[in-house]
């Protein structure tokens, strides 16, 4: 009976209510058909090029490379329209929703980046859009709430549980279970019931497809190391996708260690979590002795999630990718260093990958190279950064 294609090893699956099973099967069928349809893929790539602004550059960070003694390339997802990689997946899923004849879309959002990207796509394709956001996040990401509302989306402030991304996702799933007959749920992370993790990977894989080609052009070979930050794991699975079958390329996912993985305030589900089931999928989760999901903490709202995508759990267990923790402080130091040495203000999420890159560079030579996925830009984070720098603690 088990749907084995829904699994990555022992992770993944479809742990949703019976009401959603036919919907998931319909999406799966439509998705598999769409990605084999050259017309669909042509349209997807058209919007990525003409609307999102792809391809994004693979930039050799010269000063940082000089300082750390190895070639550091940045995959500039921060230069995408709306400021992060999230839009890649939104364009793919919204075109699929359109193809399936759905008129309404819903999404969950933490920091607001996926919400903004979804609201943007909804405006572009004239669809009715509702975004679910935890009450806490509505407060701390007021600017993104404003952007979504300007774009015509309805932002629902979710008041249940911890009032953050986890709870916004619960509410989006509940609403979806009620309205699936005419509503498409656009999930932004590499999580959720199958086929969502696969869809997100497919629509984010453009990151590694481009990066591989660009690195080949620049260096005539594959990179030695590829790294990206991991919350739910969408930019990282996109950054890994085309390198997974290249065993000589080392893959590193960087988790948010918050105030430290030995404290209670972190979001390191691989380092400190156990396998469990949340939001329709089986993967590593932060949970207590009773199996209740614990609150995550990270200075970056985008990594503030107590789970991780099922394919990452699989890559972790098989050893194909390595997952490492970076604290709030290390990420903020790296953010400032990248800003001041390269003139690029990264999102705090992406700064986690940058911070680990500096550590990793110490064991690399000047002929070797690494690619860091710079998943988003830091404009949305200036309030958090300013509070952090003023030593007032952060908004989180």
């Amino acid at each position: 009976m088990m749907n084995s294609k829904a699994y990555y090893g022992e992770y993944g699956g479809q742990f949703v209510s019976e009401s959603l099973m036919n919907t998931l099967n319909e999406i799966d069928e439509a998705f598999e058909e769409a990605i084999r349809d050259p017309e669909f893929m042509k349209e997807y790539h058209y919007y990525l090029k003409q609307y999102v602004g792809r391809e994004t550059p693979l930039y050799l960070a010269e000063r940082l490379s000089g300082k750390y003694g190895t070639k550091i390339y940045l995959k500039r997802e921060d230069l995408n329209h709306t400021g992060a990689h999230k839009i890649n997946n939104v364009i793919g899923q919204i075109l699929l929703a359109k193809r399936m004849g759905k008129k309404k879309i819903i999404a969950e959002t933490g920091a607001g980046q996926h919400g903004v990207a979804t609201a943007t796509g909804a405006a572009l394709f004239d669809m009715e859009c509702t975004v679910y956001m935890g009450k806490e996040d509505v407060k701390r990401q007021a600017l993104n709430v404003m952007r979504m509302e300007m774009l015509g989306a309805t932002v629902v402030s979710v008041e249940s549980g911890s009032n953050t991304l986890k709870d916004a996702t619960n509410e989006a799933i509940r609403t979806w279970a009620k309205t699936a007959e005419d509503t498409f749920y656009i999930i932004g992370s590499a999580i959720g019931p199958y086929p969502y993790p696969k869809m997100v990977r497919e629509f984010q894989a453009v990151i590694s497809r481009e990066a591989k080609k660009q690195h080949m052009e620049a260096e005539g070979r594959l990179p030695d190391v590829v790294m990206a930050c991991v919350g739910g794991g969408s930019n990282s699975i996109g950054m890994f996708a085309d390198f997974i079958d290249e065993p000589e390329v080392e893959l590193i996912g960087v988790e948010a260690a918050g105030k430290g993985i030995d404290t209670d305030e972190h979001a390191a589900s691989m380092a400190k979590g156990r396998p469990g089931v949340l939001h329709g999928t089986r993967s590593y989760l932060l949970q207590d002795d009773d199996g209740n999901i614990q609150l995550a903490h990270s200075i970056s709202a985008g990594l503030d999630y107590p789970g991780v995508g099922p394919e990452h759990a699989y890559l972790h267990d098989t050893g194909r990718a390595k997952y490492v923790p970076i604290t709030d402080e290390e990420a903020m130091d790296a953010l400032m260093e990248l800003t001041q040495m390269e003139g690029i203000i990264p999102a705090i999420e992406s700064a986690h990958a940058v911070a680990y890159a500096f550590k990793k560079a110490k064991e690399m030579t000047k002929d070797q190279s690494m690619i860091i996925c710079l998943s988003g830009r830091g404009d949305k984070d200036v309030n958090t950064i300013s509070d952090y720098l003023a030593g007032k603690g952060y908004l989180n």
Partner: protein, 263 residues
Amino acid sequence: MSANRIEKRLSELKERNEKTFITYITAGLPSMEKTADIIKAQKSTDIIELGIPFSDPIADGPVIQQASYEAILAGASLNKTFELMKRLRSEGVEKPIVFMLYYNTIANCGIERFVNRCRECGVDGLIVPDLPLEEQDSMKQALGGDDATILIELVSPVSKDRIPGILEGARGFVYCVSAMGVTGGAGEFHREVTDYLKYVKSVSKIPVMMGFGIREASDIEPMKNIIDGCIVGSHFINVMRDADFDPKAAKEYTDRFKEELKQ
């Protein structure tokens, strides 16, 4: 006759040509003591659904979400609910009791260990709203064909061609969700609810129960002749809350509901 308390009760009701009445309460709301008293007070209720609170109840509406949240804060857990069950059975409570819980609570306990504990403590059935047919293999394997604890299947108004497959080998009763979405929902049933219930009834070998959004016996009047019984959850929690969880209120409400079902 089956040794399972649920199946035993259902066949007795069938003989008497009586509708089944099922209530839901969240274990440990406001305390395990009160939960025990509320269970004991319900003489008229045929089967009791006992919800194990979970931090992220995605199949539940606001009332049960809040109930779970408060129960967890008050210290409720799976282990404490097992202890409560053990106590109730040792005190001679023979009412059929079904656990309603989310899959992570089971996975966290370990499936084998969980099933053993259920048998030991007299848990008669399980309702797991986030465990659809495709994910039930290991659960069914652990339960085996044993009479002690059975898995209750859920179907929804949009299940359609999945229904025969779900009902194959199903035991106890089939839980028909009256509307898409979550528990609660105050009498708002799916627009095709009658056709859907008729269809389930026509293919089901076991009794058909309707749940979600039912408050009073009058809510199910239009479909009363199709179904074998109904489940009241969110509304029952509201009734209990309004009465400050007085077991007498549980008795009054369930006596009246069951009486109206007989008419």
